[in-house]
Amino acid sequence: MSGARERILARLRAANAQAAGTPPDVAAYYGARAAALGASPREVRVARLCECLRASRADVIVSPRGEWTAAAVAALRRRGVGRLAHALDPAARALVAALPPDIDAIAFRDPIERWKREIFEHCDAGFTPAAAGVAATGALLLNHGRDLPRTLSLVPPVSLILVDENDIFDDLHSAASAQRWAHDMPTNRVLVSGPSKTADIQQTLAYGAHGPRELVVIVVTGGEGAA
């Protein structure tokens, strides 16, 4: 349908649209807001993130760096998780090493075609590390790609996400500019702010519409570097 392409573009060009007004300066807008509010200290960002996530019904656990795997195991136990799906990133390896014998670790190393049914029907939880947190809206960034399949945080009924307090930004704009998102887009960046939900039946909120019914977030505190 290249004819359609040429005709559509020709019609648009014929309109001779002029750049209306001043071009948008999104950075200036957010910069001015940040200046007016003042940069918030890390504790405030962490607190705000937790507050927003809890308001969207996430279970948020703040844990010192050395204890997060134990906290995660306890959270999985409370939910009766028997099978945990995970990728092969360092945080997942640390968690797997700490799993008790009654929780099976299932590594996601094959193309999904080979184990679609498995993840859809037999995994109770999926673990994913977040690359950033957005305090203003309580959102967590998952950079899905080679090391992190997207299905992990989507299909199992419980989604377990780990975020480092050093990666929490004030708002989406500061996260995207500090981490230079536009420079290197992975196949699928997802911002998650709670368990899956819907209000499509008479504006009544119900959780677990299609994605996870529960979101468990572990915020690790203290020290530097990867968890």
């Binding site: 349908m1 290249s2 359609a4 392409r5 005709r7 559509i8 573009l9 019609r11 648009l12 060009r13 309109a15 649209a17 750049a19 209306a20 071009p23 948008p24 999104v26 950075a27 807008y29 957010y30 807001r33 190393r109 094959d110 193309p111 999904i112 679609k116 049914r117 859809f120 309580g138 959102a139 080679r146 399949p149 997207r150 299905t151 989507l154 989406l172 995207a176 500019s177 536009a182 887009m185 196949t187 699928n188 960046r189 997802v190 998650v192 702010s193 899956s196 939900k197 819907t198 209000a199 499509d200 039946i201 008479q202 504006q203 009544t204 119900a206 677990g208 519409a209 299609h210 994605g211």
Partner: protein, 481 residues
């Protein structure tokens, strides 16, 4: 589950349907309370008026900038998408768009399509097209699923099943979903829907989604949702097809950020949605999941007509939040189905004339009191009332007056009789002598005023000129001093 033939309504019977809707007490109650709920939710998201106005300024500037550079940005988007291995298709008409999707399905031997929410696919009536060719097309957004199960169409662009009560849905599920028992418990109903659809996600060959913002700079599709069905649709099936209007493009990733803040706050009164799903290309080498093949369908369908006119171009700034309908006193009373168009409410009234032509949609721009509530809440500041007036004028112009930018269906409401009445009127008002003569005749001959005065006397008592004209009364008063 068997899907029903979709019921097609046309905007030409608008008046009859409005009448019907106004007499449906249940429907009016549903809409009234739902709209109030959404208005309150939105208001709670904008406690700081300065922040809101500042953000709306940025949002408007972003959309205006994208439109000002639309042809170049579309080419940039196309190039970026292609560089990531995405197939890009262009469609001028709904049929072309449907044929493209059908062609992709045929080439892949696909029989089952699962859909995330996409207003463009509603606009082109994709389900109907594919079902007629033996391809199952299942909606997975809960609201869309409910509407499809009922054989209806969405009544709201964000909340498709807003016209239905919990009880309606309970009855529908019990009747249509095998092995389900009647329940009015919302959690149980959602669980039922989830279970039905989960299997379908696993089996689907193709996922069709919409697009909220398409970022030209990176070739990224930005999708906004709460349920996770959009993520499943764009992740699990082997082929992902995204359908979008050509106006959905923005220049940079940074430009999408204020829009992604305005959209959920204006639409459902949430600070953010559960998921922002940013897709940049199909599954890459070494990745374990995601679609292996990805397509983007760019649809015109009348948008270039709106684009051609500087004033009407603002219609394309829309980010489909639905706030204008939530705040519209007409929409809140007649509901979404009365409009008979894919896009109801104020945005539908200004967009549909380009999609369908003024012939079929000429009454839509008249369904407004011009109260201005829509423009007041629109996150990208579309001057909706001005556009409604403009479209009213276009509908009443002479059909062939040699206008440089003739809208399809221009002059659809034009009538020679009306034109003559206005000529007569202006003739009288343009000449003092004629005006005096009319005044004299109107006051002296007032007893002969007809009792039936067209539309006016349908609901009101007839008008009759006063015994004395204001001019006469004033003259007497001045003389008496």
């Amino acid at each position: 589950m068997s899907t029903h033939p979709v019921e097609f309504v046309s905007p030409t019977q608008f008046r009859a349907r409005v009448d019907e809707a106004l007499h449906d007490g249940g429907l009016r109650e549903n809409f009234r309370s739902a709209m109030q709920f959404l208005r309150d939710k939105r208001a709670s998201q904008f406690p700081d008026a300065d922040e809101m106005e500042g953000l709306r300024d940025v949002g408007e500037a972003v959309r205006k900038h994208a439109l000002a550079h639309l042809p170049a940005l579309l080419e940039k988007l196309e190039a970026q998408l292609r560089a990531r291995g995405v197939h890009v298709h262009w469609a001028e008409t709904p049929d072309e768009a449907c044929a493209i999707v059908h062609g992709i399905a045929t080439a892949a031997g696909a029989r089952r399509v699962i859909k995330g929410k996409s207003m463009v696919s509603e606009e082109v009536e994709l389900n109907h097209f594919l079902e007629a060719r033996g391809i199952e097309c299942l909606e997975s957004d809960m609201g869309e699923y409910i509407v499809q199960l009922a054989g209806e169409r969405p009544s709201h662009i964000v909340m498709p099943a807003i016209h239905k009560t919990r009880r309606d849905i309970a009855e529908l599920f019990a009747e249509k979903i095998p092995d389900s028992t009647y329940t009015e418990d919302v959690d149980a109903l959602i669980r039922t829907g989830r279970n039905v659809l989960r299997d379908r996600f696993m089996q689907a060959d193709i996922g069709v989604s919409g697009v909220n913002f398409a970022v030209a700079e990176t070739g990224t599709l930005w999708l906004v949702e709460n349920e996770g069905n959009g993520r499943l649709t764009t992740t699990v099936p082997d082929i992902h097809i995204a359908m979008m209007g050509i106006e959905k493009v923005v220049d940079t990733l940074e430009h999408a950020i204020p829009l992604a803040s305005l959209l959920p706050r204006s639409a459902t009164g949430q600070a953010t949605t559960t998921y922002f799903n940013l897709i940049t290309g199909p599954r890459r080498d070494g990745e374990q999941d995601g679609p292996r093949e990805m397509h983007v369908v760019l649809l015109d369908n009348g948008r270039t007509q709106a684009y051609a006119d500087e004033q009407l171009r603002a219609t394309l700034q829309c980010i489909r939040c639905g706030a204008c309908m939530n705040h519209c006193p007409v929409y809140a009373r007649v509901g979404g189905h009365a409009y008979g168009t894919t896009y109801p409410g104020p945005i539908g009234q200004i967009l549909s004339p380009h999609l369908l032509g003024l012939e079929a949609s000429r009454d839509l721009p008249t369904a407004s009191s011009l109260c201005g509530a829509c423009a007041e809440v629109c996150p990208v500041r579309i001057p909706i009332p001005d556009l409604l007036i403009r479209l009213r004028n276009e509908a009443n112009r002479q059909p062939d007056d040699g206008a440089a930018q003739r809208l399809i269906g221009q002059g659809a409401s034009f009538s020679v009789g009306q034109r003559l009445v206005w000529r007569f009127w202006s003739g009288i008002y343009a000449s003092p002598a004629r005006y005096r003569l009319l005044r004299w005749a109107a006051t002296r001959l007032r007893v002969f005023t007809p009792r039936a005065q067209l539309g006016w006397t349908q609901h009101r008592t007839p008008l009759r000129p006063a015994r004395r004209s204001l001019h006469d009364l004033m003259r007497e008063r001045r003389q008496a001093k």
